[in-house]
């Protein structure tokens, strides 16, 4: 296992270095963001899910290569193609690492959204389409990429994918793709009517999903929807056009990916405060890394629609938090299954605390980040 972990780590570093060398100065920050996301997945993989099989390692590294390739591409077609490839491999990992389930439903496999995504981006190649339709297809594709896991949520044992590296990989891929698209290839019509209604439309969609989550019995399936909504949140923040919100979206991406990996998968134990804190942090409750990002991303805006969207997002998050109203500890003692690496959990705890404490920089951090980004990116 150690050998496999070493190979994976070396592979990740080698790919990152190569991409960084090949990248122009405007694309270098994207390589860094990608490294932070994928490196975080590997680093916080306390259950050793990735090194468990060689195919996991190969597909993980290939997905990383594709995502980096996507953010280094010069044309939108090439970007979409690489992005779709990364999503396809992610869905492959979902199927490969899933527990057994019965029946067959095209709507119960993550391959279906990957294929739908591919269809949507292929349709964009048709030159006769007006730019509005083209943009609509892009948005539909990005929404599909955010809600990939929604397709597998109703089969048995779907809860096993929660907190898995596949889920984090999906968030990383869709988040990076959304951010890059909004930063580089977003057309001008996105900020004009009627497309600016998406500042409200996307949060409404997320709200409906969160209301649907109320009906889900298992908290793990609910958490799947939470992180699907989180991906859409990243897209919405990047779409809004304001620079501080864009940086918050970057933070949301990293925070979301890391939080998925840092939350443990055992039942809640009232005696283990550290694990309980990490478990609750995965819902974005106050005192968590995700909550800090929510505060940053829902900052004041001059756009009326963005303000309305922020309010709807808050409501959507609250509906997830309301699930805590039914939370209860089990009286029977459940032994901790799976050997978790001690230093992984301690580090996860420290990182989450540090992330939570970033809320102190609510006035100064956006300016600092803007300065760093401006130095890294050629305008």
């Amino acid at each position: 296992m150690k050998f496999k972990t070493l190979v994976t780590s070396l592979g990740l570093v080698a790919i990152s270095v190569a991409a960084f060398i090949l990248a122009t100065s405007s694309r270098a920050p994207w390589v860094v963001i990608g490294f932070l996301c994928f490196g975080g997945i590997l680093f916080f993989d306390g259950y050793n899910q990735i090194p468990k099989r060689w195919m996991n390692i190969i597909l993980f590294l290939l997905t990383y290569v594709l995502i980096l390739d996507a953010v280094l591409e010069g044309t939108p077609e090439a970007f979409w193609r690489d992005f779709a490839g990364a999503l396809f491999f992610t869905s492959l990992l979902f199927e490969q690492n899933a527990l057994s389930w019965s029946g067959f439903g095209a709507l119960r496999t993550t391959v279906t959204p990957a294929l739908i995504f591919f269809m949507l981006i292929l349709a964009q190649s048709i030159p006769a389409l007006p730019p509005e339709v083209n943009y609509g297809l892009s948005v539909a594709a990005l929404i599909i990429s955010s809600y990939t896991e929604l397709f597998c949520i109703f089969r048995e044992n779907a809860a096993a994918t929660v907190g898995s590296f596949m889920s984090a990989l999906r968030v990383a891929c869709s988040g990076l793709g959304c951010l890059f698209y909004c930063s580089v290839f977003l057309p001008e019509i996105a900020r004009r009517a009627p497309f600016n209604l998406m500042y409200v439309g996307l949060p409404i969609f997320a709200l409906l999903v969160s209301l649907g989550a109320v009906f889900l019995k298992h908290w793990r399936r609910r958490q799947t929807l939470f992180f699907c909504n989180w991906s859409l949140f990243i897209f919405w923040a990047a779409l809004s056009g304001e620079s501080f919100r864009f940086y918050a979206a970057i933070g949301a991406l990293i925070a979301g990916v890391w939080t998925i990996m840092m939350a443990d998968r055992d039942a809640a134990n009232p005696e283990n405060y550290r694990e309980l804190y990490l478990k609750l942090s995965a819902w974005g409750v106050p005192g968590s890394f995700l909550f800090t990002i929510i505060i940053f991303a829902l900052g004041p805006s001059s756009d009326e629609l963005v303000r309305q969207g922020s309010a709807i997002w808050l409501l959507s998050f609250f509906i997830y938090w309301s699930g805590l109203g039914g939370f209860s500890f089990s009286t029977s003692k459940t032994p901790n299954k799976g050997a978790l690496n001690g230093w992984h959990r301690r580090l996860a705890f420290v990182v989450t605390l540090l992330g939570a404490s970033l809320i102190a920089g609510i006035r100064i951090l956006p300016e600092i980040f803007s300065e760093v980004w401006a130095q890294g990116v050629m305008k």
């Binding site: 496999t109 591919f118 349709a123």
Partner: protein
């Protein structure tokens, strides 16, 4: 430059056949190991020689009926590469110890090269006839004794049918153009003064033959049932070789003869009033719909794979039918990728020891028993479907950018192909495998899978060299730029 240098690879193959026959005659028994080595050496040597021939000037027409330009070269290399992959996978094949199989498969490759490199239609027809008979013989040699007679009979009939149509075509060409040499035929058409009706008949024959050899549905191919009970490597490999030859017919006999570069734009225009490009497109469209559909409906694994490996060829044919320079190059390069796909498919299915009569039931939970081989198959099929990040997706993007109403059929092809791949992928990891036995795959096989898989991925991610190679190969169509 003499014409005989072009025959060096063919001579090497012929030499290989003779040595194999000699060994059997002299020793009175066939040593599997010796035969395999000789056959492999012959194929590899021929491949290298063919590769070195590429250093010659690209526009090389030889009086006497041989041709070696960019597309011919690329198709020849594909045939040889596929033959090497077939040979590599036959290393542990139960029936590979038969001398007949070795000689006949080498013969198929020999005739395939002639079929591609012939400048005269009659020579290509005879070569393809040789391919049909030898292929049937090779496939029959791997089946049970009681079925061999039927298969040989089937091969003879199919060969004769093809021969009749081919000879009719040649007679028509000679009557109409006074020539059966392809470049000369084009010059006659350009000069004009030819009635359109006979040209129409000739075009129909050519396209019919092309579709028949390629095997795109509803033209199920010239091999038919013969592939049902033989080894995986031969059945898939020979299907691939015939598909390459069929594509060559469309390109060489169809596009190169009946079209020319339009003035001012980088695309082909028809030389006759009957637009051959449109008819090729109709054939391709039918194939785009029926190929994945038949693969989905056929629950027998052999049958569905045999249909589905034609998908990249059909997509390439569809792209070729638009006659645009940029797409043409990508389509030709797609044939190279198709060869790698077939190779990966052959090796991984072989490693899983699937029987020829395996159905989808045996596929369920296969991924949990043997993940590497199963994923290799799935990824090969994904590449055949044209999914990202494989090369086929690039071709699909470029084809859709042409702005034709036929693009919707391509999207329909993706839906069906995607469903096919998705179904296999899902079922492979569906249930628990029960008691897992030790994987039959050796370490060498695993490395071989990995190499092919990485090659396939690299062709998709770093597609520029392959695309440029394809574009370079069709330079002759548009003249020197």
């Amino acid at each position: 430059m003499g014409s005989y240098q072009l025959l060096i690879p063919q001579c090497t193959l012929l030499l290989g056949i003779f040595i194999l026959a000699l060994f059997e005659i002299v020793d009175r028994q066939f040593h599997h190991r010796q035969g395999w080595i000789i056959q492999t050496i012959a194929l590899v040597l021929a491949f290298i020689q063919q590769l070195l021939l590429y250093r010659l000037p690209s526009s090389l027409f030889v009086i006497g009926g041989m041709i070696l330009d960019g597309t011919t070269q690329i198709f020849s290399l594909c045939v040889l590469l596929l033959s090497i992959l077939i040979q590599g996978n036959r290393h542990t094949e139960k029936y590979s110890s038969r001398s007949q199989t070795a000689i006949l498969t080498l013969g198929v490759t020999f005739f395939a090269l002639f079929a591609i490199q012939s400048n005269r239609i009659i020579f290509s027809v005879i070569s393809i006839l040789g391919m049909i008979w030898l292929a049937h013989g090779a496939l029959a040699s791997e089946t049970k004794l009681k079925e061999q007679t039927n298969l040989i009979y089937s091969g003879i009939i199919r060969g004769i049918v093809f021969l009749v149509i081919g000879v009719t075509l040649c007679i028509l060409c000679l009557n109409v153009f006074g020539e059966s040499q392809m470049d000369e035929i084009q010059r006659v058409i350009v000069r004009g003064h030819i009635r359109q009706i006979p040209i129409f008949a000739i075009e129909v024959f050519i396209l019919f033959l092309g579709a028949l050899v390629l095997g795109t549905p509803p033209f199920e191919g010239l091999l038919g049932k013969a592939r049902n009970h033989s080894s995986w490597s031969l059945s898939l490999g020979l299907t691939g070789i015939f598909a390459i030859v069929g594509t060559n017919i469309f390109v060489r006999w169809g596009l190169l003869v009946f079209t020319r570069p339009a003035i001012g734009v980088l695309e082909l225009e028809p030389l006759t009033s009957w637009n051959i490009l449109n008819v090729i497109r109709v054939i391709a469209v039918t194939g785009l719909v029926l190929t994945p559909l038949f693969a989905i409906l056929n629950k027998n694994m052999r049958g569905s794979f045999l249909f589905f490996i034609l998908n990249p060829f059909v997509q390439a044919l569809f792209a070729l039918s638009f006659g645009q320079r940029e797409i043409l190059g990508a389509a030709i390069a797609q044939v190279v990728v198709a060869v790698i796909i077939i190779g990966l498919l052959m090796s991984s299915i072989q490693a899983l020891e699937f029987s020829p009569t395996s159905s989808l039931k045996e596929w369920v939970a296969l991924g949990r028993r043997d993940m590497l081989a199963c994923l290799s198959i799935i990824l090969a099929l994904s590449s055949a479907a044209g999914l990202t990040p494989f090369y086929g997706s690039l071709l699909l993007q470029k084809t859709l950018s042409i702005n034709s109403s036929f693009g919707i059929v391509l999207l329909f092809n993706i839906v069906l192909s995607g469903f096919y791949v998705g179904r296999l992928l899902t079922l492979a990891f569906h249930r628990n495998a029960g008691e897992s036995s030790e994987s039959p795959i050796t370490r060498v096989q695993k490395i071989w899978f990995a190499v092919q898989f990485i090659l396939l991925i690299f062709m998709g991610i770093f597609w520029q060299p392959l695309y440029k190679y394809g574009a370079f190969s069709i330079r002759q169509f548009f003249g020197e730029v």
